[in-house]
């Protein structure tokens, strides 16, 4: 059953087409990710789907309701963590949870949320005194304080330390276990691959790929990637003539070779090393990732 339906969504800011004809659906109980670089239109998409922004065209239905037609019903059943979190600075964490909880028809106990996001010790701290990471966790907590059916997260782990990131991933997976639907946006590949049942890759306002992460990789990438730091190579042009190499990509930091036969390519690399053309010292071999998919589809890295 589709809990979110988006059809030909359009949002323009004057001449800029932030979202230009996006379509996708989200099933109940799945974790759906919107992956893309900064400025791709992820935040605009989320905010338009929940009805915070007015869309310029297309159809949106959340739990069967158009958020522009009946915002109240939609907001009672969804929780939202915005990318930019701003709360009443002179309330405590506890008070904020209670305040926001009071807006929803059903709410989870304050202690439970504090525990969930790891802010129990900070329960009586003023919001204005929280660190960036703590604010983010509060933001996530507030998205979950009403007993919501869908949770929307806009870049939930950006700016967090690795431990907090992992904690948050656990929270999201727990939500899924409880049968909730999660819609998140991210520019982290590991996050998308690890958490999402399905992922839509977005770039410059359009979706360029959509599917299960493994399937996308398999579809676009049957190869392995060999990364050589740029500094170690004398003559990059030689690399394309190596055996089994399908593509060579060069950027500032490194040269990436894509090969369908690792052994053959390595033999060739070994030879070049003997000739003094490069060093295999810092070479990295890896499986293809969504980054490679993105790179293949757009010619750019997500991280740029």
């Amino acid at each position: 059953m589709n809990v979110i339906v988006v059809e030909e969504l359009r949002k323009w800011y004057g001449e800029v087409r932030a979202v230009d004809g996006i379509s996708f659906t989200v099933e109940g109980g799945e974790v759906f990710g919107l992956l893309g670089p900064n400025g791709a239109g992820k935040t605009t998409t989320v905010e338009t789907v929940i009805g915070l922004l007015r869309r310029d065209g297309g159809r949106v239905e959340v739990l069967g309701i158009d958020p522009l037609v009946d915002p109240f019903s939609v907001r009672s059943r969804i929780g939202v963590q915005l990318q930019v979190a701003q709360f009443f600075p002179r309330l405590t964490v506890s008070e904020t949870l209670r305040l926001f909880g009071s807006f929803y028809p059903k709410r989870r106990p304050e202690k439970e949320i504090l525990n969930l996001v790891g802010l129990t010790e900070k329960a009586h701290a003023l919001v204005e005194k929280l660190s960036g990471g703590q604010l983010k966790r509060l933001s996530v907590g507030l998205a979950l304080v009403g007993e919501v059916e869908i949770a929307f997260f806009d870049e939930p782990t950006s700016g967090l330390d690795p431990q907090s990131r992992r904690n948050l991933w656990d929270i999201i997976l727990t939500l899924k276990e409880r049968g909730k639907t999660v819609f998140l946006t991210t520019h982290y590949l590991d996050e998308a691959e690890r958490l999402c049942d399905r992922v839509a890759i977005i770039d410059r306002g359009t979706i360029i790929a959509l599917g299960k992460p493994r399937e996308l990789i398999a579809e676009y990438f049957r190869e392995k990637a060999v990364e050589i730091p740029f500094a170690e190579i004398q003559n990059p042009a030689l690399l394309s003539s190596l055996p089994a190499v399908t593509k060579v990509r060069t950027d500032r930091e490194m040269v990436t070779l894509y090969t369908h036969n690792l052994a053959q390519t390595f033999a060739g690399l070994g030879q070049l090393e003997e000739e003094g053309q490069l060093s295999l010292h810092n070479i990295v071999v890896r499986e293809a990732t969504l980054e490679d998919v993105f790179l293949k589809l757009t010619g750019r890295r997500i991280r740029d």
Binding site: I50, L52, F72, R75, S76, V80, L82, V84, A85, Q86, F87, F88, F100, F103, Y104, P105, G146
Partner: protein, 331 residues
């Protein structure tokens, strides 16, 4: 440009009503009531002579309405033709003119007497000051201070919302099921409560330190406070509809509240202001609010009449509410 309309539109509105309700309360020429309980043609002659010269306006009415109008400041002099003579009445603080008028009359009689021996005078001329309750400076001042406090509360209070809007906290609330209006209503309720507290504090300190007696009923006072607070709160939100930051909101509010403070007759009565500025008093809502509070709290006679006070404030309330409703921005 829209700021201009926010200020100009309601102001024009009020200007019209100010004129309608203001009556002829202006000072020169003199407004003189004439009550003829007896016919005394010589006095008529004098008065009409002066009227022709353009120095006074004559109003014919009965004694009680003339005296009421005199107390309210709507008449400068009351001339009562009685069987025993002429009686002039005037406000104790404005006796110069009536002495002048009586003086003219006296000298006219002497001249007539001198030149027309057959004319029998036997008409006495008397000048009396009417009794007015004495008010101290503080009696005038205190309700004005309260009015000003409520005004500032309403106007500056709206900056709370601007602050929330500027810091994008409003946005955060917009993704929750909280209905937008409830946020505003909660702010307004808080402000009204504060207005009542202000009233209690100011009235109590006035009574404690300056022995200012509240002569009106507390209920009426609170009703006026409630009404005035609503009006100024509405004006406050109206003014900051477009303000992006607290700073710019403050700017707009200062621009409005500063002249209001000085030109609304709070610190000194309008009579002390130069003629040319005095008409602005009629345009400002605070003038009417202060007037109503002075009358309700300490019994100072109203400048415009309580009905006008109510109507003008009501129009400001409606006008600003409508404008705020139309133009208010949540982001």
């Amino acid at each position: 440009m829209s700021i201009f309309w926010f200020l100009a539109f309601p102001v024009l509105f009020v200007f019209l009503f100010g004129i309608i309700f203001g009556g002829v309360g202006r000072d020169s020429p003199l407004v003189v009531s004439v009550i003829r309980d007896k016919d005394i043609p010589d006095v008529d002659e004098l008065l009409f002579f002066l009227k022709e010269k353009g120095n006074l306006t004559l109003v014919e009415e009965n004694l009680s309405s003339a005296m009421t109008a005199l107390r309210q400041g709507k008449r400068s002099i009351v001339v009562h033709y009685t069987p025993s003579g002429i009686v002039f009445y005037a406000h104790p603080q404005r006796m110069e003119r009536v002495y002048m008028l009586a003086g003219y009359l006296q000298s006219a009689f002497w001249q007539k007497d001198f030149f027309c021996p057959e004319w029998v005078p036997g008409i006495s001329v008397e000048v009396r000051a009417i009794e007015v309750p004495q008010f101290r400076q503080i009696d005038y001042f205190l309700p004005g201070v309260l009015a000003m406090a409520v005004m500032q509360l309403g106007l500056f209070g709206s900056l709370d919302f601007v602050s929330l809007r500027e810091r994008k906290i409003i946005r955060q609330l917009q993704v929750t099921p909280l209905r937008k209006e409830w946020l505003l209503w909660s702010e307004i309720v808080v402000r009204l409560v504060i207005a009542f507290v202000q009233t209690a504090v100011i009235v109590t300190s006035g009574w404690l330190f300056f022995k200012v007696q509240v002569s009106g009923s507390p209920l009426t006072l609170f009703a006026w406070i409630l009404f005035g607070a609503c009006t100024f709160v509405s004006l406050g939100y109206c003014l900051v509809s477009f303000a992006r930051t607290v700073e710019s909101g403050q700017g707009v509010i200062q621009m409005v509240q500063f002249p209001m403070m000085f030109l609304s007759g709070i610190f000194f009565p309008p009579e002390m202001m130069p003629e040319s500025i005095r008409f602005i008093t009629r345009l400002l809502p605070l003038s009417y609010f202060g007037d109503a509070l002075r009358s309700t709290m300490v019994g100072i006679p109203t400048q415009f009449g309580l009905m006008s006070d109510f109507l003008v404030l009501f129009l400001w309330l409606l006008g600003t509410f409508f404008l705020a409703f139309r133009f208010f921005r949540w982001e």
